[in-house]
């Protein structure tokens, strides 16, 4: 099948890309960096974080670059005042909700967009306790930005284990197992895909965590093995 091309302008630079290309990929072609949080090349794009929004002249509202495909003769602005205002506000709301201390990319964005999250001081945060219920990894959902990648790779995007879904709704949505059960009691196969795709410190390998806590690398096995044996007698831990 011969590819058809679309002409458009991104930040003043005219380019030609194949039909069906997303604005995010088209921007990369002209070396324009559009920030993303939820987008990941190997999972289905859901357009959740809206940080990648860009201004397309004539469009009713800002467009999420990760899921919007190029249109002929589009004129796209990736960092107009409207785009800046939207991105800054989303980041401020996110950072005032979630602990980003272990998310360097997010920290950089906060600086880049001159965010002032303190304006939402006193607002509700997401601060659930760390879940330590298995020998492989920890779940610290106070660092979770709700990008959904872990749920996606656990399900149809990779592993077909379906151990993870959601609890709550709206602001109080959280990644959850069936009736919030410890992972060893679920369909989780400990493939580690979710840890691999997590963009923040919300999912962390136990080994990494223990080393950070000052445990000598050669001693780590003792801790995880112990946990592994404990699992059988302490099912409801965590």
């Amino acid at each position: 099948m011969s590819e058809e091309y679309v002409q458009l302008t991104i930040d003043g630079t005219p380019i030609s890309v194949p039909t069906g290309t997303t604005l995010l990929d088209a921007a990369k072609d002209v070396d324009v960096d559009v920030p993303v949080i939820c987008y990941f090349a190997h999972t289905t794009a859901n357009g959740l974080c809206r940080l990648c929004v860009v201004e397309v002249e004539g469009a009713r509202m800002l467009q999420a670059a990760c899921v919007t495909t190029v249109q002929e003769d589009s004129v796209v602005h990736t960092r107009s005042p409207k785009v800046e205002r939207a991105r800054r506000t989303i980041l401020e709301m996110l950072v005032s909700t979630v602990d980003i201390s272990e998310s360097p990319e997010l920290q950089e964005l906060v600086v880049d967009y001159e965010c002032y999250p303190e304006r939402f001081e006193g607002g509700k945060k997401r601060q659930p306790a760390i879940i330590d219920d298995n020998p492989v990894y920890l779940r610290d959902y106070s660092q979770c930005v709700m990008c959904w990648r872990c749920v996606q790779v656990c399900a149809d995007d990779a592993q077909f284990s379906y151990a993870l879904n959601f609890s709550g709704r709206g602001f109080d949505t959280q990644i959850a197992t069936f009736f919030d059960k410890p992972l060893p009691e679920t369909t989780c196969v400990f493939c580690g895909n979710c840890i691999g795709v997590c963009p923040t410190g919300a999912l962390k390998a136990k080994r990494e965590h223990l080393i950070e806590q000052g445990v000598a690398p050669e001693k780590v096995m003792e801790f995880t093995r112990l946990k592994g044996k404990k699992k059988k007698s302490h099912n409801s831990a965590g």
Partner: protein, 579 residues
């Protein structure tokens, strides 16, 4: 554990009924199980998951999403007190407090004797009876001074409500006949539209609806004829007709009245749409709180089937069409068309990205025509009376009549069918005028905008309102007088959106919460100018970047209140929030 004492025997017949449908039958199966056991315990959910072949984590996600599903035991009777912006104006939060005090419980808790659970809920669609509640399945209007003992222990069902039409095109004989009786309906001209439809080719029907200029009445005002044309031309089979009866927009109750009072007109409209589009399957998705409407619609469907207006070979024309009723379970966002599809498919009500649009890939990924209740009633009338007759009222851009929902500080709250194009003041006069001194009018619902006392000459048509940055929305006209606490109303608007955000996209998930916190400060008199700048930024981000209409409209009413009457925030003057 309580759950282990449950006898799972009764579940067997439920599973036999729903298992063949798989995940698509998840919500009906959960409803049936909950109706049987009172709540959804772990063993019951495990059995449902096995039978319907749905991952357990996914079912848990569904139970957690919908507010009417319970995973813990609840009281024998659930008392749901409406704390929407409309009922709040009439003291529903005070009523909630007094009821909880009476039972010595907190909202969401059950009395120690296990008899009652009291919940604060968002709009119940009983705004003409505000302050209102649902006691079990009984919709009630809480009269002033009534003690909790009286209205909870012996609830008096609210009637259909005050109806008036000038003319009564869509309302027809609504409220005057036995609603589900086919003979009664035929007696006032019912099914004439379907008969005329079936005597003509589908193209004629689409042309007639297009000619009529009918715009969707659910809020988005999309041309109905064009939607039907797209669905009829779309590739793929089967095609579906969905009637959106998830009426949850605060201030809106017209679809409830139409379903309870004139259900056969909706069924007729769905059959007409099906014939035009080339569909044989329809879903009628009714919000979970509308229990009375659901049972009347079920009865009307059975009667329509028995008399040959639904099912195989309708009126001997060879055309087959049938309708399945689906109940929502407490989620405003499911009124968004793609979230509604997800819900029918047995999932959390997360709106999908668009495109693809429903007419190309809707329910089950197939071409789908989805219309609001009132839109379908209008289609029924048009097919019986002709496009020219419909155009004889209304304006150039807004043909026909609109069924308005009038509530608040007016003499006669209720449902009013009036020609499009008359003024806001005329509409209010039809309902007996304002009680007290007018402070403002909320037009279009929680996702609407406030008009001030000087705006009574606004022309109520889609184009007339759009010119002035208003939205007709679902036809809400909520009148507010100067005795009402505007800060409290704005707080309950913010509370509504924070409660109803699905949590999918960041701007709405986070923004509705931040907006609520700022409105909380406003109620407490602690608002600063910086908070108002933040409020504008939050509103901007939600409007410009949210995936669906819920987030896009979550700030319009609040920001419009600020624009119209900046004094509601207790600050000296409005200022433009440029940083």
């Amino acid at each position: 554990m309580v759950s282990q004492q449950l006898d799972l025997g009764e579940l067997k017949s439920i599973l036999e009924k729903y298992a063949p449908g798989g995940r698509n039958q998840l919500l009906p199966a959960l409803w049936a199980a909950q109706n049987c056991y009172g709540y959804l315990s772990e063993p019951v959910v495990v059995a449902i998951g096995k039978a319907l072949k749905v991952p357990l984590a996914d079912i848990y996600g569904v139970i957690e999403f919908y507010t009417m599903f319970y995973k813990e035991p609840v009281g024998e009777t659930i008392v749901r007190i409406c704390v929407s912006p409309i009922c709040t104006q009439r003291g529903s939060r005070e009523i909630l407090n007094s009821v909880c005090e009476h039972f010595d419980i907190q909202p969401g808790e059950t009395t120690t004797d296990g008899k009652y659970m009291v919940e604060a809920v968002e709009c119940l669609g009983l705004c003409d009876f505000a302050p209102s509640a649902l006691v079990g399945e009984v919709p009630v209007s809480i009269s002033a001074g009534a003690t909790p003992q009286s209205w909870i222990q012996s609830p008096d069902p609210a009637p259909l409500g005050h109806l008036e039409g000038d003319p009564c095109w869509l309302l027809g004989s609504c409220g005057e006949v036995d609603p589900a009786e086919v003979k009664d309906y035929e007696g006032c001209g019912g099914f004439m539209g379907l008969k005329r439809t079936l005597q003509n080719p589908p193209e004629f029907v689409i042309e007639e609806i297009t000619e009529s200029g009918l715009l969707g009445r659910g809020g988005a005002a999309f041309p109905t004829g064009m939607k039907w044309k797209f669905a009829s031309q779309a590739e793929g089979q089967p095609k579906y007709i969905v009637c959106n009866a998830d009426e949850s927009e605060p201030g809106t109750f017209k679809d409830r009245v139409l379903m309870e009072g004139y259900p056969l007109s909706i069924i007729e409209g769905m059959a007409i749409a099906a014939y035009a589009v080339g569909s044989h399957y329809g879903y009628l998705y009714i919000r979970g709180e509308y229990m009375r409407a659901q049972s009347i619609m079920q009865k009307a469907l059975a009667n329509a089937r028995a008399t040959g207006y639904l099912g195989k070979n309708i009126l001997d024309t060879g055309f087959d069409f049938d309708i399945d009723v689906r109940s929502g379970a407490g989620a405003y966002v499911c009124g968004e068309e793609t979230a509604l599809f997800e819900s029918i498919e047995g999932k959390r009500g997360f709106p999908r990205l668009k495109p693809p649009y429903p007419t190309d890939q809707g329910l089950f990924g197939k071409p789908t025509d989805i219309n609001n209740v009132e839109t379908l009633c209008a289609a029924t009338w048009i097919m019986a009376n002709g496009a020219a007759a419909f155009r004889s009222l209304g304006t150039e851009g807004s043909a026909g009549t609109k069924v308005y929902c009038l509530s608040g500080d007016i003499a006669k709250p209720g449902v009013y069918e009036l020609p499009l194009g008359i003024t806001l003041g005329e509409i209010i006069q039809k309902a007996g005028g304002v009680l007290g001194e007018l402070r403002g009018v909320l037009i279009g619902g929680a996702a609407g905008t406030f008009a001030g006392p000087d705006d009574l000459d606004l022309v109520m048509s889609f184009e007339g309102l759009a010119e002035n940055k208003y939205f007709l929305g679902s036809g809400v006209v909520n009148v507010i007088n100067t005795d009402r606490d505007m800060k409290q109303i704005l707080y309950s608007l913010a509370h509504f959106f924070a409660h109803e955000s699905c949590g999918k996209c960041f701007p709405c998930q986070l923004g509705t919460q931040r907006q609520l916190e700022i409105m909380e400060k406003s109620v407490q008199g602690q608002l600063t100018n910086a908070d108002l700048v933040a409020l504008e930024d939050v509103g901007f981000a939600m409007a410009e970047t949210s995936i669906c209409g819920v987030g896009q409209m979550a700030s319009t009413a609040i920001l419009s209140a600020w624009e119209k009457c900046p004094d509601v925030f207790g600050l000296e003057e409005s200022f433009n929030g440029q940083k």
